[in-house]
Symmetry: none
Subunit: 281 residues, 2 copies
DNA sequence: TACGGATTGGAATTAATATTTCATATTGAC
DNA sequence: GTCAATATGAAATATTAATTCCAATCCGTA
């Protein structure tokens, strides 16, 4: 393999288009097939692809070799990489930034890293949020008398913002955070007519889990925001959201969680206003 | 393979979540890995995936078999299918989302709005942040004995995250938030060898301004994060940052502020480590 | 603590897949 | 039309990867 081997899909595509006129018949056939069905190249085996394209496996390999690859396998990597990038082109940017930050790219790199981590997380949640779950959570919270907000440590800032926003929207709420150790009593007042927003990420704060369990046992419906389907919060929750936050420099972003929390809060406010209008009108 | 083998990713996911409690340790480990890194399953070989997940290839196969597949290969098909579908239908999904949001299709639009506001704010700050100011602020904070963190209301979540992160980095700090009205006393302890991070946005919380003024008069250097050069905070600060946050539904994003705050914190941690090494070496 | 069953690790085996080889066919030049 | 160069097909081989198997370990139970 010399250095002019296409490493990314776009270069590869350009190279193929450039040479197609001078390619032998069967090679041209497989070239056309490759550009038309890139997904098949990414996932198929040499034999299956060759069959779909109507050529021999050996032709496929010759095609790869003419492009400078040392075999079909290396060619296939480019097609796989393309699929990966589509889904998470941000991850690579992040990795690059991390590298830059590490070898002394100054402190600006750290800032860029956090911005990139936040953007990545926002992109991810935007793609993965389930509308039905969201509606369900909003409905559940909108009919609560009091909304309890439960979070410690890294998630606490989110909880405090939710509490602030709920307050502004005149929705009765209780931030469970007592430094005086009165959380158990505070939680004790919750009834099934209330609701809870619980937020916790790995490593899950034991207090949050304990409090969530205890409030769940009182029959209070719970909306959880957490980071994995294996989170202990998930089992207690009526509705739960999985939020994957990118991290940088050992600290995870919380921007996706924030966006979700804000959206929930404001949507609950909306829903209540709608319900209020219906009752009056 | 009986008929209950999951054929699509969502069913598979649900099945795994359903059974997770009853799975043996290593199987659970690979299950968690699979749901967290679906792309790796799609592209990897049994050996490479097993290695990343920290188990033996045989465990991976047992996992597949427990789910009803007849081997790893069939399981992998489901993960590959998911990637194919996602890519082919991404544009359609996006278009559908927009249409739905437009004709009042529920609360998803609110969520999208917050994500957009956060993204916009991140883009803005990324463009406008002044590197020299950033370095100056980091230098100033890095040599402080104690970092005081000052913010109320909407900015309070940021302050609480800063305090959390500083604590993790073992940097002495004091979050000025006492509900008991002891802020004045707390601030009284600050000396010119300390430093302050003050955060406030219009409408500026009178308490924040008052406290910032008083601490500035004691000769304590201040780094301010605020939203305009006319901000009352700016006049007290040694260094200040102007952060323009987009708003949605009456609530402003705080993601840009968060990113800046995190970057400051981590950069201060870095700088201290560097200084520590120099002293020792 | 000893037993039995379930689980796991790691090597051996088997299956699959890519690549090479070689005989045959095609093409283009003279 | 013949020759040489090139391209192609098909089968043989080499490589890589999936699966199986068995011994060791762990875990719950008596």
């Amino acid at each position: 393999m010399d250095e002019r081997v296409p490493r990314d899909f776009e270069t590869l595509r350009a190279t193929i288009l450039d040479r197609r006129a001078s390619l032998p018949k069967r090679i041209a056939q497989i070239a056309a097939y490759a550009l038309d069905n890139p997904d098949d190249i990414a996932f198929g085996t040499a034999a299956s692809i060759a069959a779909s394209a109507g050529v021999q496996p050996s032709t496929l390999i010759r095609f790869a070799q003419q492009l400078g690859f040392d075999g079909f396998t290396s060619l296939q990597q480019v097609f796989r990489e393309r699929l990966r990038e589509r889904n998470s082109s941000y991850d690579e940017r992040l990795a690059a930034l991390r590298a830059k930050a590490e070898d002394g790219g100054g402190h600006r790199a750290i800032f860029d890293g956090f911005v990139a981590a936040a953007s990545t997380s926002l992109g991810d949640i935007s793609r993965s949020l389930n509308d039905a779950h969201f509606e369900e959570a909003v409905a559940l919270l909108a009919k609560a008398e009091t909304i309890y907000v439960l979070a410690k440590r890294r998630s606490y800032p989110v909880a405090s913002y939710i509490a602030y926003a709920l307050g502004k929207l005149k929705i009765r709420n209780q931030l469970v955070e007592s430094a005086a150790g009165l959380n158990a009593e505070m939680i004790g007042f919750a009834t099934p007519r209330d609701a809870v927003i619980a937020i916790s990420f790995s490593p899950y704060a034991p207090a949050t889990i304990e409090e969530t369990r205890s409030i769940a046992e009182q029959g209070v419906p719970i909306v959880a925001i957490t980071d994995s389907s294996f989170s202990p919060l998930a089992q207690f929750a009526k509705v739960w959201f999985e939020v994957a936050e990118a991290d940088f420099g050992g600290f995870r972003s919380i921007s996706a969680t924030m966006a979700l929390a804000m959206a929930l809060t404001v949507a609950v406010g909306e829903k209540r206003r709608e319900a209020g209008r219906r009752r009056k009108g």
